[in-house]
Amino acid sequence: MTAATDYTLAELCIVAASKAFENDGEVLATGIGVIPRLAASLAMKTTNPDLMMTDSEAWMLSEPNPLGKRDDTFQPACESWMGFSRIFDNVWSGKRHAMLGPTQIDKYGQTNTSALGGTYEAPKVMMLGARGFPGNSISHPNSFFVPAHNTRVFMDGECDFVSSIGYNPARLPKGHSLDDIDIRLVVTDLCVMDFGGPDHQIRLVSLHPGVTAEQVQENTGYPVHVVGDIPVTAAPTQAQLDVIAAMDPHNQRAYQIKDNPPGVRAAADFA
């Protein structure tokens, strides 16, 4: 299949993020937010039909639902009930892979969804809370999507509040090894990374068209492991773009990355 030449950065990110689910086998793919959900949907529709997915409410689906309003004749392909209490039974079985967008990701892959600055008793900015991140992070594989790669997200030091366990030896629980933690892909508007560097250091996997490794490092508050020639993130194929368009008929993907830039950017786009 030939690569498309006309695609947006959001579509590039969806295709790159869908690779996270490619070799997962039969697990529940949970993509929170438009781009992660479309990534999981694309994987289920193309590379890994064994994936499971919910309707984000209370049913397991045999086919992912398109995003947004659907007409009255639409019948979701429900295959089982999957209310929130049952989600935790699935989480703790390990047969799930979630892709989420935390506010901070530190050099250990620890994330923060709860509080920024100030003290814990009176944070400067209160956010969502720990949500399900503690349980997700110790129970099953997780990937992250970051729509704006910068040093506020990938910050120096440890997260202000550690919502999810990462590769931090100082926090390793008794009887566990760091290999029990399974962080897969980190997809951003600049690149794809993972934690496959020495001692689980964050590592550059691919650069989006027009982005340099230096640019990634400048926007990351800790060293990124870069070895050899870094490939360019694979462009979507027309077939992938068609699946994405069918899954996102209201084009919600156009509103996920600031100014909805094209997939191939020139230096001027970063000015």
Partner: protein
């Protein structure tokens, strides 16, 4: 046994300092009419346990809360709950911040009468650091450390359901009953508001009885309040009120703040409240959310 009560009687049976569980999830099927009745009362110093939405935000804003046990407080489509945020950022409440699944385990432990349930959840995170009362223990069966999630014993739970009979048989007909069965089981007293009060014969159809998630012995009182989840949803009867939540969130940025919101909507009774938000027919006409 007739368990029918009024919302005023429910709140009169609650006491300052109690630990109160609130069913529902974020902006979904919250017992908001009972919460509003607390807003109208002088009840205070409450510890609230909830998958929180505007229930938690309103009680915080009204100064009813000493402590919140939470994994999140969110209106979903408006991610950050404005008044919970204010309460946290001003340091005016104590918190026990835990994982969503840990809350489920804590409620189960309380329901089952055990002091804790062991879990991996929370290990390596600040949940353990900021909750010195949550212990990490050794296991008699392996060499790992385990989080001993303590029982979350509730003095009372407040839950909203689609239908109930006067004996406390409660039906949740929406697609998810969330953790409401565990809130009912974890509490010494469970007070339920219902959109429809039905005769017991309604449940003699197995398809209806299948949507009853706890035994009536877990229900202490039943309050018939049609539209009582507003502005949260009670799928399939009505969705959540997006413009109302926007006005509520917007009020946090106004000088009049939460008092302005209360002055505009709360009223002296649920009837007045419903008049202020356009009436029961308008509530029942709110479109269901699409996820």
């Amino acid at each position: 046994m007739n368990k029918q009560m009024t919302a005023t009687e429910v709140v009169a049976s609650l006491e300052d300092g109690m630990t109160i569980g609130i069913g529902g999830w974020g902006p979904r099927r919250k017992p908001m009419a009972l919460v509003r009745e607390i807003l109208r009362s002088d009840l205070k110093d409450l510890t609230i346990v909830a998958y929180g939405g505007a229930d938690v935000g309103m009680l915080c804003a009204a100064g009813k809360v000493r402590k919140v046990v939470f994994a999140f407080v969110s209106l979903d489509f408006i991610p950050l709950e404005p008044y919970f945020r204010q309460a946290r950022q001003s340091g005016s409440i104590d918190v026990m911040e835990i994982d969503e699944g840990m809350m489920l385990l804590g409620l189960r432990a309380a329901a089952w009468g055990v002091p804790y349930i062991p879990t991996e959840v929370g290990l390596g995170t600040d949940i353990i650091k900021h909750n010195p009362d949550i212990k990490v223990i050794d296991s008699p069966y392996d060499d790992k450390g385990w989080v001993a999630m303590p029982a979350l014993k509730l003095d009372a739970s407040l839950i909203h359901v689609d239908r109930a009979d006067a004996r406390g048989v409660c039906q949740i007909a929406g697609p998810d009953h969330y953790m409401d069965d565990w809130f009912a089981r974890a509490a010494a007293k469970t007070y339920v508001s219902c959109d429809e009060l039905v005769e017991t014969g309604y449940f003699h159809d197995p398809a209806q009885a299948r949507m009853v998630h706890w035994e009536r012995s877990q229900t202490t009182g039943v309050v018939h309040i049609p539209g009582g989840a507003h502005p949260s949803s009670c799928t399939p009867l009505y969705g959540f009120d997006v413009p109302h939540f926007k006005a509520y969130t917007g009020s946090a940025k106004e000088e009049s703040g939460f008092q302005g919101y209360l002055d505009q909507y709360l009223g002296a009774s649920e009837d007045e409240y419903q008049t202020n938000v356009g009436g029961l027919d308008a509530i029942r006409a709110i479109e269901l959310p699409t996820y």
